[in-house]
Symmetry: C2
Subunit: 523 residues, 2 copies
Amino acid sequence: MTPPDKHGTDESPNGGTLVLRRVAIDTYRENVAYLHRHCEVYRAEGFQALAKVEVSSNETHILAVLNVVDDESLVAPGELGLSEEAFVSLGMKEGSAVQVCHAEPPASMDAVRRKIEGERLSAKDFLAIARDIAERRYAKMEIAAFLVASGQTGLDRDEVMHLTRAMVAQGECVRWESDLVADKHCIGGIPGNRTSMLVVPIVAAHGMLMPKTSSRAITSPAGTADTMEVLAEVELSPARLREVVRAEHGALIWGGTANLAPVDDILISVERPLGLDYPGQMVASILSKKIAAGSTHLIIDIPVGPTAKVRHMRDALALRKLFEHVGDRLGLFVQVVITDGRQPIGRGIGPVLEARDVMQVLQNDPAAPSDLRQKALRIAGRVLEFDPDVRGGDGFNIARDILDSGRALTKMQQIIDAQGRRTERLEPGSLVWEVAAEKAGAVIAIDNYQMARIARLAGAPMDKGAGVDLLKKLGDPVREGEPLYRVHAKFPADFGFASALVKSDNGYRVGAAEDVPSVFAEF
Amino acid sequence: MTPPDKHGTDESPNGGTLVLRRVAIDTYRENVAYLHRHCEVYRAEGFQALAKVEVSSNETHILAVLNVVDDESLVAPGELGLSEEAFVSLGMKEGSAVQVCHAEPPASMDAVRRKIEGERLSAKDFLAIARDIAERRYAKMEIAAFLVASGQTGLDRDEVMHLTRAMVAQGECVRWESDLVADKHCIGGIPGNRTSMLVVPIVAAHGMLMPKTSSRAITSPAGTADTMEVLAEVELSPARLREVVRAEHGALIWGGTANLAPVDDILISVERPLGLDYPGQMVASILSKKIAAGSTHLIIDIPVGPTAKVRHMRDALALRKLFEHVGDRLGLFVQVVITDGRQPIGRGIGPVLEARDVMQVLQNDPAAPSDLRQKALRIAGRVLEFDPDVRGGDGFNIARDILDSGRALTKMQQIIDAQGRRTERLEPGSLVWEVAAEKAGAVIAIDNYQMARIARLAGAPMDKGAGVDLLKKLGDPVREGEPLYRVHAKFPADFGFASALVKSDNGYRVGAAEDVPSVFAEF
């Protein structure tokens, strides 16, 4: 036999083509390809042990994990199935001819292995890793390897900077026609903490640009985008976003449509289920998104508390330095505020309940949760002081005037109308359980993590009305049998999941008033 | 509404049951569950972001990754699909009632996170991790996290011991009626290195017990089990294995049927595709399998060479100490031999070609590869010296006598007959390409890794006849155009894959005779 020309002896590379078929399975951020076990062209089992294949069609190609199929009705011999996301990302029609070959492991896995060995990686290494991740060359277990390797020995400051830059480079970047584009971000972990929906209208009413892109919840019961969606459209095209911001100076939209630092989304999809959250990854994740969104001035909120992400002041300070170091070198002006993270902010946890809290504050309703109001005013004040014309220390008062005068509410209504008002009125879930105190005393602890999980199992954020409504906060006196909070759900299954969790640990501790922990920090 | 009793308001826990359906997809060591997007009982999307669900039915339950399905013909609303392996491991009939709930992340992931933080883990931690892995509570990305975390800071000697013990505890343990059960194991990485198939008949002919369980290839072109399978049945029940060993003293079977240290198999299924191979994991993996198989005396072969797994003598020595430390504490007598790992052993790479080499050595065929013969005799000699009646230093000569006299061949034929002789005669693949030297000189390097990949892409070990047949070895003079090796394949697609790889790098280097690297070590 003569040596085959280029790739194989057939007309097509590697000896054969398969017919593309869409398989209606959503494999959630992992491409999966389906091949029949008795495919004549390729032997499925030979591929499978190597775990990954490259599927190509003329110019485009994707990588996918291979599953072997024994059912012809799903995928017949001679066909290649692709899961929903894989099908979309290949971008070919059903019935197209595709080839399959053994996927080379992503070349940048070498750098990951060097990181595992304890090496410091270069800017070039991080670029290569980010590119391979963006091109979906990494399986989840490879992403896990990268995350753990960079979490364990830690990334040094320059490595965090390189990673941030590399993540920015893999996506789109928005540019605004202004030298001052304000933004704020909380590192997360505090349920109900919806200050952005107050800060944006206040700052926009002042006339500063604040086009805020937010995330949807992944493992939390609500992201700002989920809550804003109760009131308005949040999935805006880049062109529509520009219109809104031109007219209103502010916006509150979901960042997912804009392809900003997409590598970050992929990393997060592994980080969260693994429960990993390391400073280097966190800083790179947040700053890459902000830089890609075109922000120039940024307030970072680091809540500190016994059940917050950051539990000690020394860790909060170290994290602050890291944000400042990287921000400065990438041309983003970052100011960090350290806040009280001992308990959830406001009363509601879950989109509808949180939106209610926000609107109560904007409407100066006496029932509005005062902690949400105070925190939002403080952050808005700090953002306003990015304005060279605002005197240092005056920000808080200006913010309060804007809120008290109703101008913030007016601005919020304008933003809602500009983005597209939701006419359907959403209500809290109709299955309700009031969870009662088992003894009398004062509330001495509310577990942020547990309250978030209860709201999540109750159905938030998928069911907008699901969640938890807190009736008592830290320090409040309670009588035995008095309700601490309400669980709202729509579906009986979810109601059952949440109730079982409440019974194992209701998230509250009642004790002696003097045992309420003191605030670690307040800016 | 009154608080729901126990788990939910319905008669079934959590509010509803689904009808079990088998989905003919082989997801290769990861349980996958399929739920329709518009399931009335559970909302698929709420589950999906949390990645894992627990599927339960009366007493049994399994964990699975959830995929959301949009095609009713695959899984209808009201049904729950399970992939092949998941279906088998749940062990219920199609049509059974099953419930789904949010899977708690495995509790032992806390220990993994502590390991990531650099902590030393306890025996109890490793037991919990091994149990959760054995029960399939870990997703691949969680296994990757564990592997990287224990690779990066490394496991200390006692941690390796704890891990080994924990892996043994999760599976079956074989016991033999003898105080001396001999075994040998090579750490791998050297293609063609089929010494076990020579050592076992020699040692068994001497009358020592050597019931050798081997693995199949995962990312290599052949495991001992794959090669032995060319000649005999290798999937024997524990009862059949005992019969064979009682009659013949030796056996060469696949270890997969016996459920020996099953955690090891799961770890390897992530380790190999990630290209991770750390000393602690390797030692725990090998020793746990040997202890579970009932071995009492073990020779470990560590090949050292520029493209071997171990590339420096200092690393080989450190690895030797680790094997000895753990072996001693777990009651397994381990002796380590450090061998020449500069190039593949023998000529053939791939099951049929390797089996040919082995039989040539047993038949004292003048064409038999002398390096395979020599290495097998040396290892067999060391094994024989485990016998108290064999004088130190005499093992090699006894082994040679057994081989030269034909007693080893006779024993091998008896073992083959006892296990079940394969009557079908397998031939090397009929698509053949002779890869020629591009210039004259001496062979100064043969890349173990690249030769293995070429054989693998050619179809080994799935196609027994596929692989590579080496015509030149290290130091051999070659003329320009003279064949270095032959590639054998059965399928054109595989032939194309292997040929493309050869063209990018044929794995051989030809240069000046004095540049042949010297042997690092030879026992």
